[in-house]
């Protein structure tokens, strides 16, 4: 009797582990920052590097912080989606240009269109560490009180935007 039960139980356990392992999204890590106040930064802007902008200035209305870089191929793919979000006026988008070259970033925005209200420039990647950024693109939704309510790692698609982010924005407006 045991001769059959033990191997079958072991096999079933392994199948269980593999099944849930496959099902899990391997790329997305839970961010410890969700539900916490957005880390404050004060950085030069891509548009005018002599001017600095802090995200404190945006408290009072929700915004989407989008981390990107011209060296990031997925960001180019994501750019269309950001332009669409901006066209629909769903939310204000703040660009966070991460470890980039200023002139490439400026060229990128001129050539591909600019979905951002403002783009800050973090050439050394220090502010990015405070946000727990580890790979572009990453997007954070911050509510009017300055709390991070949602995060997405990887390129946004309209599907992800509508499923994950829009409901949170609606919730805020209620």
């Amino acid at each position: 009797m045991w001769r059959y039960i033990v191997p079958i139980a072991v096999f079933a356990t392994l199948v269980g582990f593999f099944y849930f392992g496959l099902d899990r999204d391997q790329q997305t890590l839970p961010s410890p920052l969700i539900g916490k106040p957005a880390p404050v930064f004060s950085l030069p802007t891509v548009e005018d590097p002599t001017k600095t902008v802090s995200n404190k200035e945006f408290v009072g209305k929700p915004y989407l912080l989008n981390v990107w870089g011209t060296w990031c191929p997925e960001c180019r793919y994501e750019h269309e989606v950001l332009l669409e979000i901006q066209r629909r006026q769903d939310v204000v988008i703040i660009g966070f240009d991460w470890k980039d070259e200023l002139d490439s970033a400026q060229r990128w925005l001129t050539q591909l269109g600019n979905p951002y209200t403002v783009t800050v420039f973090d050439s050394e990647g220090r502010a990015a560490i405070d946000w727990g950024v580890y790979g572009a693109p990453e997007s954070f939704l911050v509510d009017a009180q300055g709390i991070i309510v949602e995060k997405h790692v990887g390129a946004l698609t309209m599907q992800i935007w509508e499923d994950k982010f829009l409901p949170k924005l609606k919730e805020m407006r209620e």
């Binding site: 890590l29 410890p32 050394e124 560490i129 580890y134």
Partner: protein, 142 residues
């Protein structure tokens, strides 16, 4: 063969290039502490490497952060805490024992004990069997 060696040297050379150009600390004790901390932190972009081993720019940024926190006089716990607050527990190669991680910590002991018990049972049972096949003297023959 020569082509192979050349390729190998070129590839490893490129990797070495990705690492920090200068030594972080001159003091050997400090350097050891620095390397030790880096080895405890996972490079989240690469997953299977610590930030001490990864040539990626994000790993270099995190090493710089570790160095700066050390210079600022932070303790090892404070530095690991700093990283965990930003990147989550997954950044630690040794996750703390909690309700979500106990299975991870218990797994080696459970597997070892299970293996020993299974081996014991099998050996005991085999040694009790009479040797019926003279061509294959199994366990229990002397």
């Amino acid at each position: 063969m020569r082509a192979f060696i050349c390729t190998f040297l070129l590839l490893t050379g490129a990797l070495a290039f990705g690492m920090d150009a200068e030594v972080a600390f001159d003091d050997p004790a400090q350097l050891e502490r620095y390397n030790n901390l880096n080895q405890q932190l996972r490079c989240l972009k690469c997953r299977f490497e610590s930030i001490a081993d990864s040539p990626l720019p994000i790993a270099a940024d995190l090493r710089r952060q570790v160095k700066e926190l050390m210079i600022a006089g932070k303790s090892d716990e404070e530095i690991l805490q700093f990283m965990t607050e930003r990147y989550g527990e997954y950044v630690l190669y040794k996750p703390p024992l909690s309700s979500r991680t106990w299975l991870l910590w218990a797994a080696p002991v459970v597997l070892l004990v299970g293996g020993v018990v299974a081996a014991f049972v099998v050996i005991m049972r085999k040694s009790r069997l009479p040797d019926t096949d003279p061509a294959d003297p199994g366990l229990g023959t002397s």
